[in-house]
């Protein structure tokens, strides 16, 4: 009698444990985003599942580091960056003249009777351009999409940077107390943010291939 009870208790315990284990090992339903296809059993596992992320981040860091190392060379700075920055100062000066600021330009300097700015590295949009370039190069996309993305991206980043230089000049001229924080925190954030958002827009809309047409 006791033996039979023990046997039934063992069977019941095993049943409860099996049910518990089965419940615990139920896979969570995967989240399906964007135009992803449903996952299949052929999908890579382990680190291979993150291979594309690893490749993207590695290429991004290498291009970014290489680009900025190149910028730190005096020859590149003197022959490329300084003339480029002078060009930005010229366009900014013309824009400021158009809104009645009556400025004088001298190289990378812009000044009028109220205020003067010297556009240096960090304020010419080149950093954001290189971050954008590194992200475009690192992202898996067709060559044509990359070229178009780079061309439009660089123009858009420089447009935002032009707004920054003009806005900073006006801030310095009319609200000098706000110039410092506006220069370092506010506009740096806006320019980098716009570059990153631009890249995400490009990657999301143009770099990814269109979903294949399906016959119903």
């Amino acid at each position: 009698m006791i033996g039979a009870l023990q046997r039934r208790a063992r069977i019941a315990t095993r049943f409860i444990l099996d049910t518990y284990r089965a419940d615990r090992h139920q896979p969570e339903p995967p989240r399906i985003m964007a135009d992803d296809k449903p996952t299949t059993s052929d999908e890579p596992t382990g680190w291979r599942a993150y291979q594309r992320e690893i490749v993207f981040l590695t290429v991004f860091v290498l291009v970014l580091g290489g680009g900025f190392t190149l910028l730190s060379l005096n020859a590149v700075n003197d022959n490329v960056i300084v003339p480029f920055t002078a060009g930005i100062a010229k366009v900014s000066g013309i824009t400021l003249d158009l809104i009645g600021q009556d400025v004088d330009r001298n190289g990378t300097m812009i000044r009028n009777s109220r205020f003067a700015v010297n556009i240096k590295n960090g304020c010419n949009g080149v950093e954001t351009m290189i971050i954008f370039l590194a992200a475009v190069v690192a992202f898996p996309a067709p060559l044509k999409a990359r070229v178009i993305g780079l061309a439009f991206g660089i123009i858009a980043i420089q447009a935002v940077n032009l707004i920054r230089v003009v806005a900073l000049f006006l801030t310095g001229a009319y609200f000098p107390a706000f110039f410092d924080s506006s220069h370092t925190v506010v506009w740096q954030t806006i320019v980098i943010l716009s570059g990153v958002l631009l890249w995400i827009y490009w990657a999301n809309r143009f770099a990814a291939p269109p979903p294949p047409a399906t016959a119903e």
Binding site: A34, D42, I192, V196, L197, Y201, P209
Partner: protein, 214 residues
Amino acid sequence: MSKKKSRPARRDKRGPKTAPPPRIDRREWFTRFARGVALWLFPVAAVWLLITPSYNFILTESAESLVRLTENPSATNLGFEPEHHFLITRSDLPASRGALSSVRVTDIHFPLIMLGAFFLAVPAIPWRIRLENLGWALLAAVFFHIVLAFFWVKFTYATQLDSWSAQHYSVFAQNFWGLGKHLLDLPFKFSLPFLLWAFFYLREILPPRSTDTA
């Protein structure tokens, strides 16, 4: 009986048995993300402004401890100043020399605003996961800020003190600390929020794998 039916759908080799969760269109995803970034930017900036004095202090103390770990005897003092600066002084240099350099600490960590906005704005991700990822990203960012402050101090010692720098640092060391500070302070400081975001969320915008479309 009802318990068995309420279990999540199993997958087998023939694909999902039940309808997949609703998908988000790519255009809609970006619109929601951009709107989220714009909306989150101001609350995150407000929080950043609130925590900045405490964080400046923590960062200065941590950087000083890290620099002192590399010195024997310890001589570096990072004096915290108003207006969010720390002053670098050395106890083995004459007091008449004063502060060797001044670094604005907020310049080191203001990209936290971008980081917070990026991580909180990602659409279609449960809040628990968003906050968990943000927590890890903040932890990584704090380590980066301490290392950047460390490089600022070493850069000052190696390149900004004329004969003292030449006497204590080789040409290679001067280039190492100079280039290191340049790379950390410009490209990596600015791109860190994006790098961390990409680490956690790149999958959201990556095109489908080629095996899926085949």
